[in-house]
Amino acid sequence: MASNILNYSLADFHYNDNPDVLSPPDDFNEWINNPVVKKVFSFFEQELLDAPRVSTEILSNLDGQKRHIINLTSYNYLGLSTHPEVIQAAVEAVQKYGLSSSGAPLLSGTLDIHTELARKIAEFKQKEDCLLYSSGFGGNVGAIQGIMRKGDYLVMDEKCHRSLVDGGTLSGAKMLFFAHNDMDSLQMMLEKCKGKRVLVVVEGVYSMDGDLAKMPEICEICEQYGAGIYIDEAHSTLMFGKNGRGVAEHFDVEDKVGITFGTMSKSFGGVGGFVCANKPLIKYLKGYSSPWNFSCAPSPAVSGGLIKALEVATRDSSLRDKMWENTKYMKKNLLDMKLDLGDTESQVIPIIIGASGEKLMTYAGEMQKKGLFLQPVDFPAVPAHARRFRMSVSSQLTQEEMDTTLTIIKDVIVKGQQS
């Protein structure tokens, strides 16, 4: 392994044949403790020493220095996690209810603020009912696992999030993946499961590429085959559509989408997930969706804060207008530098570097030392030929921060790609 150690990745050590069940595979230890690999991993789990705002402080794993940075990695798209009104609401909730819901929602964990938040989210999404999950990952796993059964078919875009794939695996349904946003491929997969119970699963905004599901075409094809639609709007809720309801609203197809999922940890600035659908289905899920049924209900502080976050984000469009203004500015300037941004149409902007993991890590280190926190995204999270940085544009960015960011990117990535 020593000669090509950098070609290995986390994709290569899933199988474990170590006779000691309490140990990782031997070759994993050899790999992860190699100095070069260690350096790559030093980019992960770096501690933020302040709130995940655009302007924050990091304890750098690269050199052990505390450093003030512009943070374009956190998902705090609308800055709601530190919005004063949201914090105030969270403080009031924690003072009244304490830190924990202290029970599963079905038994004793449901508080009045959970019911209020679920009702308000359902109204916002214009669906009959809503189920709240303590984790976004758990929400996708739980909804898919709760609805689908052995003998059913899940037809998923190949770029769907791990939580959706894991939910599919757990459900026992047969999973077919169609080529990303490719309507011929979708149709081919639907041909294979004619006459079965079929759920088509897509994402509003794809998290590694920032492009949108082709909802009008997807809805038309699904209608033709009688397939249900599940859309994960984790990266699009509160940002897309006239009222911020997401990509389904943006394309005016909300009535054709049976199930809409969202996360509370991105634009909402909290943590958790939600699933909105018709009342009977939500009632059914309460009996069969294990991550809901067997998890403690969301923390009161988070739920109290989220009620306010929803209000702040929807009482007018000022936050998302600012986020879009910033996105437009960043995108224009990055394109002027001739950087490869893939097919992004959203606030998620990939900067695709290519096949070289070494370049990716070198740029990441240099940028961080100049004061820009942009996490490298490496294989297997993205294809090996398209390693990248993923920029999350936030409404919090000031003009000065955007210009500093662009200067650093020019000095490091543009210069590096030309040499």
């Binding site: 999973m175 993946f177 090996a384």
Partner: protein, 81 residues
């Protein structure tokens, strides 16, 4: 190790891991996708085959492989190394 042996192992694992292939002959010029494999199935077939052949090829080197024969060629390189 011969290429024929490698193709035999890969073919066996395709048949074992995918539905409805019991009586099929696997054509090395085809892709696993042609036999109905999704990306998770492909990972499983590749893992089982590598274990059986006692070789280890980084996944990152498998990205551009288009058919079963190319996979066998890649395995050969590592078997000989």
């Amino acid at each position: 190790m011969t290429k024929e042996k490698i193709i035999e192992v890969i073919s066996k694992n395709i048949i074992e891991n995918l539905d409805d292939l019991e009586n099929e002959t696997i054509d090395p010029k085809k892709s696993m996708k042609d036999y109905g494999a999704n990306s998770l199935d492909m990972i499983e077939v590749v893992s089982c085959s590598m274990r059986e052949l006692n070789i280890k090829v980084p996944r990152a080197e498998l990205a551009d492989i288009e058919d079963i024969e190319q996979l066998a060629d890649k395995f050969m390189e590592h078997a000989e190394a």
